[in-house]
Amino acid sequence: MKIFAVGNSFFGDDGVGAAVLERIRREDVFPGADLIDVHTDALALLDHLSRGEMNVVVDAAEMGLEPGAAIGFRPSEVRLKINSDHLSMHGFGLAEAFDLAAQLDRMPDDVLIVGVEPERVQINQGLSAVVSDAVPRVISIIQAEVQSNG
C-alpha cells in the first residue's frame, strides 16, 4: 500500500495530509506501507502511483461540507475541477495530476482519495482545531478500506 499526502503544511489546513502521514508513521498504523509526502508537487504522484496495490491520497478538499468533515471516495465518484490558471505552474494540483495519469494510462485501479474540508488556508498557521480532530477519522477511513479489501 502507498499513502500519499498532498499539500503545503505551512498553509494551515492544507497541511492535513502531512499531519495524517506523521500520525501513521509515529503510531506505525500501517506497517510496511510506503508513506510519501509529495508536498505541493502533485505531478510527482505520476512517478509513484502503482498498479497492483492500494493507493491512498490524503488532501484538503473543498467539498462544500462542514470544516473538518473527512470523506473517502474513488476518483470515478467525483468531478475534480481542473483549476490550472495556465499563467504559472502553481495551478497544477491533484486534479491535473490524475487527469494526466489517466490519459497516459498510468492510473491504477485501486485509488482512494480521502478529502478533508478545510477551515482555514492561510500562510504561517498550523492546522485548525476541527481539521486536527479529523486526523484520526482519516486514519479510520483508510483502515476500513484496508479491511474491506481483505
Binding site: 498532498v6 499539500g7 503545503n8 503544511s9 505551512f10 498553509f11 492544507d14 509526502d37 509529495v38 508536498h39 505541493t40 508537487d41 502533485a42 505531478l43 510527482a44 505520476l46 512517478d47 488532501d59 484538503a60 478538499a61 473543498e62 467539498m63 471516495f73 465518484e77 467525483v78 468531478r79 475534480l80 475541477k81 481542473i82 483549476n83 490550472s84 490558471d85 495556465h86 499563467l87 504559472s88 505552474m89 502553481h90 495551478g91 497544477f92 494540483g93 491533484l94 486534479a95 487527469d99 494526466l100 490519459q103 497516459l104 482519495i113 478529502g115 478545510p118 488556508v121 492561510q122 500562510i123 504561517n124
Partner: protein, 442 residues
C-alpha cells in the same frame, strides 16, 4: 500612467483577462485603448501579503531556512539556499567547498526541473495553440512522457542531495546533515548521461519545430542577473546589469528600489530605467560566455543570440540553461567524486552576530534575503525580494510597447499575445496551496 498612441488612430480596445490562481491570489491582464490612445496596459496582481519579516522575527538561525523554504511550494529550494547564505554571512559561518558543490548541484536540479516544466507544460501549448498541456497528451504523448521523465530525474537530484525534492531537509546553516553516497551520485551521473542527454537533444528538436510561433517583439531592456568570474552564476556572484555593470550583492537595495503601484499588491522594482528584467533571458544576456558547449549548440539551433531583447525568448533561454544545468551537474558530480566525499558536520558556531545578504539565481531570477541577528542568534529584521516582483514593472512596459504594435490583430490574437508574454516571464504569482476542488456526482 503614460499614454502611447497606436499606429492606427481611432482604435478602441478593451481586454480584461482574469486568471484565478487557486486560493491565494490571482493575476489579471488589463488593457484599455481609447480612440487609438493606450490608456492602460498592465498586469494586476492581487495576493495576500506575506509578512515576511513578521514570519521570521524572533526565530533562531536554525529555523529561518525551514520557514522560508515553505513560503512557496515551487520555489522552495531557492528560498532555502538563499536563506542559508544570508544566515551564514550574518553569523560568519564558513562553508566547505564540498558544501558549495552540493548546493550548486541542488540548484541545477531545481532549475532544470522548473525550466523543463515551464517549456513543456506552459510554453509549448501556446506555441501549438492548444490552450493547455492536456490536449498534448492525446496528440503528442511521447513529448509529455519525455517531459515527465526529465522532471523526475531533476527531482531525483534534489532527493539524493537534500533528502526531499520540494522541501529539502538536509541543507542547514553551515553545511549538510547528510552527505550523499558515492554510489548515489554515480547513479545520478549515469542517468544524466544516458537518459537526460538524449532527452535534451530531443527537447531542442521539439522546440526548434515550434520556434516559428514565438512572437517577434523586441524592446530594449535592462537585464540584471548575478555574474561570476568562475562559472555560469546561479549559486553566487556580483549583481550585474547590462546598463551599469557589476556591484557586490551587499548593494542589492540599490539594484532593486522597490516601489508601490496601485494595481498590484506585489511591489515593483526599478534601477536606472522604469523597469528591468531578471530570469533566464537576463542570465543569458549577462553570462552566455560561461555556458557549456551543449547549451551554445542549443542556443544556435533555437536562434537565441547574445543581446536578445525579446522577452518571449525567455522560454528558449530556459531550455538552453536546462542543457547547461544537466551537463554541469555531471561535471560537479565528477569533482565531488574525484575529491572524495567527506562526512563533514555542518559548521554552526557563529563568529559574529550581524547582518547578512543572500543573493541566488532561482529559476525566475535573482532572489534576495537579508537578515539581522541579535547575540542570541535570533532574527531582529528580515527582508525578501522575489524575482517575480522585480519583473512586474517590465511586463507592464512590454505590454505598453506591444499593444500598439499588434493592434491590427483580432482581439483574441492580441489577448493570446499578452497571455503568452506574461507566461514567458514564468511568474510565481501566488504561493501554492494545492487543495482539491470536488463536486460529487449525483
Amino acid at each position: 500612467m503614460s499614454s502611447v498612441t497606436s499606429a492606427e488612430s481611432g482604435t478602441n480596445l478593451d481586454i480584461k483577462v482574469k486568471h484565478l490562481t487557486r486560493v491565494e491570489g490571482h493575476g489579471n491582464i488589463v488593457v484599455n485603448m481609447k480612440e487609438g490612445v493606450l490608456e492602460k496596459a498592465q498586469l494586476e496582481i492581487v495576493e495576500a501579503p506575506r509578512y515576511f519579516e513578521a514570519m521570521l522575527k524572533g526565530r533562531s538561525f536554525h529555523e529561518a531556512a525551514i520557514i522560508t523554504s515553505r513560503i512557496c511550494g515551487i520555489c522552495s529550494l531557492g528560498h532555502q539556499i538563499t536563506s542559508l547564505k544570508a544566515t551564514e554571512q550574518a553569523l560568519g559561518l564558513e562553508v566547505s567547498e564540498q558544501t558549495v558543490l552540493l548546493r550548486k548541484l541542488l540548484i541545477h536540479g531545481a532549475t532544470l526541473q522548473s525550466n523543463i516544466l515551464h517549456a513543456y507544460f506552459l510554453a509549448a501549448p501556446d506555441f501549438l495553440k492548444v490552450g493547455s498541456v492536456f490536449p498534448l497528451v492525446g496528440t503528442h504523448p511521447e513529448v509529455v512522457v519525455r517531459a515527465l521523465r526529465m522532471k523526475r530525474l531533476a527531482n531525483d537530484i534534489g532527493d539524493v542531495v537534500s533528502g526531499r525534492a520540494v522541501h529539502p531537509i538536509t541543507p542547514v546553516p553551515g553545511g549538510f546533515t547528510r552527505i550523499p553516497t558515492a554510489g548515489e551520485l554515480k547513479e545520478l551521473k549515469r542517468r544524466l548521461e544516458e537518459d537526460m542527454y538524449p532527452d535534451l537533444l530531443a527537447t531542442v528538436e521539439t522546440l526548434k519545430a515550434l520556434a516559428g510561433a514565438i512572437p517577434r517583439f523586441e524592446r530594449e531592456t535592462e537585464y540584471i542577473s548575478l555574474r561570476s568570474d568562475d562559472d555560469y552564476a546561479l549559486y553566487d556572484g556580483d549583481i550585474c546589469s547590462t546598463d551599469t555593470g557589476r556591484v557586490p550583492d551587499s548593494e542589492y537595495l540599490k539594484m532593486t528600489n522597490e516601489f508601490v503601484v496601485p494595481h498590484s499588491t506585489s511591489k515593483h522594482a526599478k534601477v536606472g530605467r522604469s523597469s528591468y528584467m531578471v530570469g533566464a533571458l537576463a542570465r543569458w544576456n549577462n553570462n552566455h560566455d560561461r555556458l557549456c558547449e551543449l547549451a551554445h549548440t542549443a542556443a544556435g539551433a533555437l536562434g537565441l543570440k547574445p543581446g536578445c531583447c525579446n522577452p518571449y525568448m525567455n522560454t528558449i533561454a530556459q531550455v538552453v540553461e536546462a542543457a547547461h544545468c544537466a551537463i554541469d551537474s555531471i561535471a560537479i558530480i565528477d569533482q565531488l567524486l574525484d575529491a572524495g566525499l567527506k562526512d563533514e558536520k555542518p559548521n554552526q558556531e557563529p563568529t559574529v552576530y550581524g547582518t547578512g545578504v543572500g543573493a541566488t539565481e532561482v529559476p525566475r531570477g535573482i532572489l534576495y534575503h537579508e537578515y539581522t541577528y541579535d547575540r542570541a542568534g535570533r532574527i531582529t529584521a528580515a527582508n525578501c525580494i522575489i524575482p517575480t516582483g522585480q519583473n512586474l514593472a517590465n511586463v507592464d512596459d512590454d505590454m505598453k510597447k506591444l499593444v500598439p504594435e499588434i493592434i491590427d490583430k483580432s482581439k483574441e490574437e492580441i489577448t493570446l499575445h499578452l497571455e503568452m508574454l506574461v507566461r514567458a516571464y514564468d511568474p510565481c504569482i501566488s504561493c501554492s496551496v494545492h487543495m482539491l476542488d470536488v463536486d460529487f456526482i449525483e
